[in-house]
Amino acid sequence: MILAWLIIILLAAGVLAAIAARWSAPLARSISLIATSLDLALILGIWVRYASEIRFGTSSPWLEQLDWTWIPQFGIHFHLALDGLSLLLLALTFFLGALSVLCSWTEITENVGFFHLNLLWILAGIAGVFLALDLFLFYFAWELMLVPMYFLIALWGHERRIYAAIKFFLFTQLSGLLMLVAILALYFLHHESTGAYTFDYEQLLHTPLSARAAFWIMLGFFAAFAVKLPLFPLHTWLPDAHTEAPTAGSVILAGLLLKTGAYGMIRFIVPLFPDAAQEFAPVAMVLGAAGIIYGAVMAFSQHDLKRLVAYTSVSHLGFAVLGVFSWNELALQGAVMTMLCHGVSTGALFMLTGEIQERIHTRELGRMGGLWTTAPRLSGAGLYFALASLGLPGLGDFIGEFLVLLGTYRAHPILAIVASIGVLAATLYALRLVQRAFHGPNENSWAISDLVPREGIIIGLTAASLLWLGLYPQPILNTFRPALHALETIVQLHR
């Protein structure tokens, strides 16, 4: 039941915030902050409560489950379940959710209520995606994320917001519909072989499929996840959407929405279609490696600070694809670590960008420079997160990428070598960012205020968690390892 509450709190608080904003905008903001913090507290509570089960293993891979009949005519259940992997991703969701409410505290002044309604409903959709174990419910949550995100970009975005919002929506919606067709094909094939109509993940796992059918159905799922991730060359919506979205939108897009793609690959594609995924792995991995290099090169050549950060996401998520499709223990752990750390570090970079833009009203790297002299704390934070992004040992991203490279080297040494060139390129774009924005002479004589306490809290929290992830990742690894292990067992049984 607690799993349903996680979602209900967000949905209800969204409506409340929309109503409350009629009287007072700060009240609406506070309601959202309280709701996201409450969810964060709940999920951390679950983590503490199940610490020993996570450590020593349980009979079932799920820590918490909830299974209600929803539409019995189709065999659809409201089936939520939580394992270590979902737990960490949910913690990330609510953490970044709370931070994105904080970082839009002064940025969003128009129609505050509707903004928070959308924000919280996106988070509810994302939480649904990470929890759903019924493929219909999964698709439902998958779609639920889109509309509010579209509004967020289209109504509170920057100059070319309508274009970006529509592009985002069409890419994700079209690929989502392909996934719907794939889900239905799986549903009917399952019925043909077993006589039961069900969308339940655990039952569908054991569907006997012909190689051809499995391949096409897998491709339908892959289309949706690859667009969300985004995998090169399906990434073209991402730079536009990230750049034009308001800060909170960018944080949620980069920090959370992209993770749903990688999560889908781990949870659904490989376990449901192990053979087809194995067959397809070389293609996916080559595209992932290409994305790593491409994203890094594109990031290096951007003049718009937000666009630069956006392209780094293409590069980082390439590592996640490499890790997932190498499908060995190290690479998988690396993929999940990359997802978590990228969420925090890129989220933080977008929030910093938002803070800079709020102060100097431009995102052009060419018009910046010398910010260190006038806002040292802000610039120092910029350096810190840029270093995290380039994979400095001691900060979270390093662990993830290192594990992925180790794991990939076992499966495909050449791709691992190509990917490590990407790490090198990351150094270039990250240092260029720092140099252009913060160092050098203050030619435009910017005189801006440094971080206010609210921003200091945001930056401090993200910086601390990155340090934790980088220096002592063991509790995190311990939490998601049993979940990954369960998935690996499923795949081994199949192959």
Partner: protein, 483 residues
């Protein structure tokens, strides 16, 4: 006629009685409220009579009419839709103090009678009778704003095209009768298997019938009249044309092709596939070019009928359920969408231009919320009825392995999103104060009848989207015996 026949026919008799009572009431004293109330009460009691007739189903009343459970279900849907239209019309026309809207209610009752006859027909004669009763009253309804050029133009256009399509239908029926020697649906199925029957001639007849039906359903390439008629007719009437008239026609199509066993005709299926794909693409692509809300809804309805054909072609129990559920969702959504237009308009001056909807959210947040839900439902986004309905259609298509149709549906839905989103963005965009002041004035407030109808429809759309189980169960119970 036996006692049982009368009871089975009771719903239709009550609708007919309603039309007469309303006519007499107007003759005695002209009162808008009374006319609307009599019609609403009459239609509601016809709805209640469905429960009286239900235990007898299936029941043949002469060879013409067969009251089976599917007929009862669709008559119920038609009545519910017509009652909603009555409420919408009442709210809409009560803003026009000197108009004479009373006769509109007679026409609504007669059109409902025609639709009810259509969905319970089991014979070519009753089919044609129902169709003509429906069409003739629709001519009057579309051209009801007789002082308006656009309205009269729309009425005449509808008259000419509907008459032409009726002649196609008649000719098709004649050809089928010529070859099969019967006009009863059930007997056609057996007659078609006789060795001396030339399948090609039957196919020609069926295609001609399909042309006639296609006109009424506004499927491509017989869709030309739709945008003009929707634009010219007043919002409540357009709602009626979009929902009740098309829904009845589609239910008839399903019934006829099922009972007469024509679904197995491959040539016909090919024609239907072409029509469906063309409707989905043309409806959604042409809607992109429009700037008038009523015209966008018209093209959207063309595309939606294309989606329905996907389920129709899939056949089987699942298709019957999918069509029934889709029609329920479509009725509620379209009625409410036109209802929103009605709330914002005055008779004779419907708020069509998309430009005047810009920034509506800042002036009328609740109405905008309802409109947003309807647009999302038309686009098939979760938490709305449209999502479950579209899901059902895709499921029906996938279960019958109609991949071409399913992929056309997927691609065109994505295209369709484009214009729904464009409308939604317009609703929420910021409009500078001076522009807002200069734009078409919006009707403030709204009569209780409009507000309540819209709230009820919005509640239905959201309830169906979140928890469709009860309605699905009802549909299965109703249709399991007949489809």
């Amino acid at each position: 006629m036996t006692h049982g026949d009368l009871i089975a026919l009771l719903p239709l008799l009550v609708i007919a009685g309603t039309a007469i009572v309303v006519m007499l009431a107007i003759a005695v004293r002209r009162s808008h409220a009374a006319a609307a109330a009599f019609t609403a009460v009459g239609l509601a009691s016809a709805f209640a009579c469905l429960f009286v007739a239900a235990p007898l189903a299936p029941h043949d009343v002469t060879p013409l009419i067969r009251m089976d459970s599917s007929a009862l279900f669709y008559v119920g849907l038609i009545l519910a839709g017509s009652i909603a239209v009555v409420f919408l019309s009442y709210g809409y026309y009560s803003r026009q103090p000197n108009g004479r809207p009373e006769e509109l209610y007679i026409l609504i009752a007669i059109a409902a009678l025609g639709s009810a006859t259509l969905v319970s027909a089991s014979h070519f004669a009753s089919l044609f009778l129902g169709l003509e009763i429906l069409s003739v009253s629709l001519y009057g309804m579309v051209a009801y704003e007789r002082n308006l050029k656009t309205s009269v133009e729309a009425g005449v256009k509808y008259l000419v095209l509907a008459a032409a399509s009726a002649s196609f239908l008649l000719f098709g029926m004649a050809v089928v009768y010529f070859e099969l020697g019967t006009m009863e649906f059930e007997k056609m199925a057996t007659a078609a298997e006789r060795p001396d029957v030339a399948a090609s001639i039957v196919a020609i007849g069926l295609v001609l019938i399909l042309v006639g039906i296609g006109f009424k359903l506004a499927l491509v390439p017989f869709h030309m009249w739709t945008p003009d008629v929707y634009e010219g007719a007043s919002a409540p009437v357009a709602a009626f044309v979009a929902t009740v008239s098309k829904g009845a026609m589609f239910a008839l199509l399903l019934r006829y092709f099922h009972q007469a066993g024509a679904r197995h005709n491959t040539a016909l299926l090919l024609v239907l596939t072409t029509i469906a794909v063309a409707s989905m693409f043309a409806g959604n692509l042409l809607a992109l070019l429009q700037n008038n809300v009523k015209r966008i809804l018209a093209y959207s309805s063309i595309a939606h009928l294309g989606y329905l054909i996907v389920a129709f072609e899939a056949g089987g129990d699942m298709a019957g359920f999918a069509v029934a559920f889709y029609l329920v969702a479509y009725f509620a959504t379209m009625l409410a969408a036109f209802g929103v237009v009605a709330v914002l308009s005055t008779p004779g001056n419907d708020l069509g231009n998309l430009q005047s909807y810009r920034g509506l959210f800042w002036r009328r947040p609740v109405i905008t919320g309802v409109f947003t839900v309807m647009l999302l439902s038309l686009a098939g986004i979760p938490l709305t009825a449209g999502f479950v309905a579209k899901f059902y259609i895709v499921a029906a298509g996938a279960s019958a392995l109609l991949w071409l149709l399913v992929f056309s549906l997927v691609v065109t839905s994505a295209i369709g999103l484009f214009y729904y989103l464009r409308m939604i963005v317009a609703l929420y965009s910021h409009v500078p104060e001076r522009m807002a002041a200069g734009s078409t004035p919006l009707m403030q407030g709204g009569s209780l009848s409009l507000v309540w109808t819209l709230s009820a429809l919005a509640a239905v759309v959201i309830a169906l989207g979140c928890y469709p189980s009860p309605v699905l169960r009802l549909i299965q119970i109703m249709l399991i015996g007949s489809v």
